[in-house]
Symmetry: C2
Subunit: 152 residues, 2 copies
Amino acid sequence: MQNYEIDNLDKSILEALTENARIPYAELAKKLAVSAGTIHVRVEKMKNAGIIEGTKVSINAKNLGFDVCCFIGINLKNAKDYPETIKKLEAIEEVVEAYYTTGNYSIFIKTMTRSIDHLQMLLINKIQTIEEIQSTETLISLQNPINRDVLP
Amino acid sequence: MQNYEIDNLDKSILEALTENARIPYAELAKKLAVSAGTIHVRVEKMKNAGIIEGTKVSINAKNLGFDVCCFIGINLKNAKDYPETIKKLEAIEEVVEAYYTTGNYSIFIKTMTRSIDHLQMLLINKIQTIEEIQSTETLISLQNPINRDVLP
DNA sequence: TATGAAAGACCGCTCCC
DNA sequence: GGGAGCGGTCTTTCATA
């Protein structure tokens, strides 16, 4: 199911669908000069290959009141506590992404909060109370100048 | 256009659309026990309020061959070179996200590459040749145990 | 002002070429 | 990969509370 080689048509479909996942297949077909049936076949193929996982709305978090995006590098007391820590982080709704990384930190997370106060509360009352965590480093995102979702 | 307060119905719509943006409005209406017209009105309202930015397919980068996800913290020689550096980073297709942050790094970027070799090439031949950059720190993501797209 | 119902146009899915 | 048919969906309008 993996490593299916996509051709230019597949690529064009992905690009179009990345801009607007709700575009009618018929319109897409016209734009790419193929038939609607073909689009359908290709999309199904990419779904089966696990390339297309699904469709999502992109929500502007800022306009919903979540103004503060922040990255937090976490160091654990013991590396073996990783699974337990992830479980605890998962229970915190402000944690939107988590990565297990090599380098300076054991775990690296991204958080979305409504304000700096909210972030501070999150850090003090939720994250730093996790006993497996030794220390944290906070990187507040002031700007997000690049945010791509298309791959070459 | 901002700070429009969403109610429970809007929230349910967003949640459903986040799981599957292509769900028929009629089905969504049935699930939420309202009429299809209402769904349509609400979605339009949230689009106008800038809450819904659009719809996207979620692509599994791994199945496309992009196996290595990596974060790179960048320090600049001079803080004022930020805009110029962003411009140069933007031209690098492997750079999928960039943040201007407070804390340890000036700029923080996320990259997607096909392999460790590819990552190494990216670092040496592309990123570290940007003259405004003083130093970089690389955090290779080994796992991505949390990846939410729903907000509370 | 926001919701609900219905009608027509449009689209997606499936088959066969 | 292309083309046509049927079943279903989206959108719009109008009436209502």
